[in-house]
Point group: C2
DNA sequence: TATTGTTATACTCTATAACTATA
DNA sequence: TATAGTTATAGAGTATAACAATA
């Protein structure tokens, strides 16, 4: 076990070694993507709470905003616009129904289709949610130029495309 | 149910409406953070497979690289360097042990400490993992200038700090 | 009492596969 | 057979809280 004590000693002598370049160049970047998203989500939840909005998943709020643009979309069309799978949408729509913001209405013409229709409450809440999202933008992008934000989005898109082999 | 058919008709007449500015400005950006990270992970897994590396979680690979910089770190020190909680580290360390790349060794001096020690296999594999991560960088950042990458990282850091109220 | 580490649990976001109901 | 939607399940990454062992 002497070597283990040796390790412990090295730790003490050199507690903060510089990480190798390959590590600092990849892992923190990789992890930053998640932590930024988490920061967006946490701040949005705090703001929604402050604004007396129902506590929605970020995805549900997005569905709500889609519906406030065009009410009565079918689930499949909503999933397409939100760029998620049908099965992923189910929980978000459940969330909206549970919060009383929208209801499923089965189509009379083709009973396979379900239209999502905003309730009165949903129509009232949607602008507040939209406002919260706008606030988040203002907070998040404070002191960052529009050009830098666009550049970042474009770089991220290129990275994703590079990694997906395109 | 006539209104539902009305919705269906509007869909047909105007199937691809432009989303409102507030939506395009936030949600796709929010979601991009996750999708880029997923792209990194998927590509890394594919490359690790091609290079005959053990299939490790990204986090486990990161722990392995930390150990290849300094062997025998305690779990708490490893968690600190990886910027995760102790409890989150457990699964990653289990992963490394399961793959035979490192072993837990309890310290004789202070039996509360556990040192992670690379095995022979771990020392052989670490450089290959590092190489894979370097390849990923090359793939991900192809045709993107170093300046743009640094700028993106810095912008992301600012966004996170803004959102966290700093 | 304080520290190290583990376990149990939960949460967010997402996907795939198998299923039901309808056309 | 094809489409719309649901359910069941998984997986990645993370956290909190309660716990055991040790100091």
């Amino acid at each position: 076990m002497d070597n283990l004590d040796g390790h412990a000693t090295r730790e003490c002598l050199n507690a903060w070694p510089a990480p190798p370049h390959s590590v600092i160049a990849t892992d923190p970047l990789y992890r930053r993507f998640r932590s930024v998203q988490a920061a967006f989500r946490r701040r949005a939840q705090a703001l929604m709470h402050d604004c007396d909005c129902p506590q929605l998943l970020h995805g549900s709020a997005n569905v709500l905003l889609q519906l406030s643009e065009q009410d009565g979309l079918t689930l499949t069309e909503l999933a397409r616009r939100c760029e998620i799978e049908n099965s992923s949408l189910t929980a978000l729509v459940d969330d909206l129904e549970r919060s009383g913001l929208a209801v499923r209405e089965r189509s009379a013409n083709d009973r396979r289709h379900i239209h999502m229709v905003l309730t009165q409450k949903g129509r009232e809440v949607a602008p507040r949610i939209r406002h919260v999202w706008q606030q988040i933008q203002q907070i998040a992008f404070a002191s960052i130029s529009a050009q830098d934000i666009e550049r970042m989005q474009s770089v991220m898109q290129t990275i994703e495309s590079n990694l997906n082999g395109g």
